[in-house]
């Protein structure tokens, strides 16, 4: 089910990129006679917008957005329910003394007990919230604006954001989330990590364009 969903998204992605490339071609120009450089500039921004939607599809998957809340607590599961056990955010986004994230979440997935883990498990800061206070996911435009606002994103520029998506252990965890305690594999984001990084790179190289709010 997950695989077929991801395959469909890949087809959708390729189709959109193809459409963006086609729509950026100047009227009357021959695809064979126009140099790559001439078509690269207008196509790149369009490709960036298409790529952003792919990035957004990952960022808003439960494996990612469950820890990008606007509230005092993280979420769990594909239904994004409030984290059990009265877990709260705490001043440093790592829980509170006696009930830290590390009280359960270790440096790797605990496959025998079903507790997910990765290095430095923590909530994203409130400046990187991608939900509202009612746990509704923000629009693509709003998340994009938040992600590109250097006053909110730890002062990361495009290459910095790309590197974050490439190397951050918690980002990697989202693509290798292990199994829950009933033995079921946790659902995966709609792209592989390689595809996610590639989409981020296309978006960054396209000037990190953000869609307009509807």
């Amino acid at each position: 089910m997950v695989c077929s969903h991801r395959a469909m998204l890949r087809v959708f992605f390729v189709t959109l990129v193809a459409c963006a490339g086609w729509s950026a071609t100047p009227p009357g120009a021959s695809g064979q006679s126009v140099s790559r450089k001439q078509t690269a500039t207008p196509a790149t921004r369009e490709a960036g917008l298409v790529a952003w939607q792919q990035v957004y599809s990952v960022l808003t998957h439960p494996r990612c957005i469950n820890c990008h809340t606007a509230t005092n607590y993280p979420q769990q599961g594909d239904d994004r329910h409030r984290h059990l056990f009265n877990v709260v955010r705490g001043a440093g986004d790592k829980g509170v003394p006696g009930l830290n994230c590390a009280t359960c979440h270790q440096s790797a997935n605990a496959e025998s007990t079903g507790v997910p883990g990765a290095h430095n498990w923590h909530l994203a800061p409130l400046s990187m919230k991608w939900q509202d206070l009612n746990d509704k996911i923000l629009s693509s435009a709003d998340v994009c604006r938040s992600l590109t606002n250097r006053s909110k994103n730890h002062n990361l520029d495009g290459p910095g954001l790309l590197k974050h998506h490439q190397v951050e252990p918690l980002v990697h965890w989202a693509f290798q989330p292990g199994r829950s305690r009933d033995g079921a594999a946790r659902s995966l984001p709609p792209l592989t990590h390689d595809e996610f990084v590639a989409a981020t790179r296309t978006w960054v190289e396209g000037g990190m364009p953000c869609p307009q709010n509807p």
Binding site: L84, F85, N86, V87, V88, G90, V96, P97, G98, L99, N100, A102, T103, C104, Q106, S107, A108, A110, E111, S112, T113, G114, V115, G117, R181
Partner: protein
């Protein structure tokens, strides 16, 4: 089966167990340290709380393979710590315990709280202790004992 070298309450220990064995069962079954209790097995009740490198940790969900070289402190050893001693004294003076099953986990969480927040507010107490469940409902006495221990640590 793998062999693991652990430091528990300052003492070196060696166990040969399946890597996925939760720390709780290593403590109770292999090291015969039964002060740490099994409550729910899913980190929901806090009865199994120990300290791993000073962090209150639910030993029922942490496989021994993920402990590494971090030192472990259990209820059997917490009294050697000044904060732990103060908390245990307060537990006695406030007569906190009813059935007592959850209390080793309660005490371990309180010590973790007071080490970072020596003068906790009611909100601090509620948030830090919110994951430790007491079926006897001794919460009022737990709160008073935390405040008494905090005073003791002045």
């Amino acid at each position: 089966m793998e062999t693991y070298k652990l430091t528990v309450n300052g003492q070196p220990k060696e166990v040969t167990v399946d890597p996925g064995t939760p720390l709780l069962w290593v403590l109770r079954e292999d090291l015969k340290m039964t002060g740490t209790k099994y409550g729910c097995g899913i980190a929901a009740c806090g009865a199994c709380t120990v300290h791993v490198a000073g962090v209150a940790t639910r030993s029922c969900v942490v496989p021994v393979s993920l402990i590494g070289d971090r030192p472990i402190v259990t209820i059997e050893g917490i009294g050697q710590d000044p904060v732990g001693r103060a908390v245990q004294d307060a537990w006695v003076s406030e007569d906190v315990v009813q059935c007592g099953y959850c209390q080793s986990g309660q005490i371990m969480s309180v010590v973790a709280l007071l080490k970072r927040t020596p003068k906790p507010t009611d909100t601090n107490i509620e948030q830090s202790m919110g994951g430790n469940i007491c079926r006897c409902g001794t919460y009022v006495r737990i709160r008073e004992a935390i405040k008494a221990a905090s005073q003791q640590l002045k």
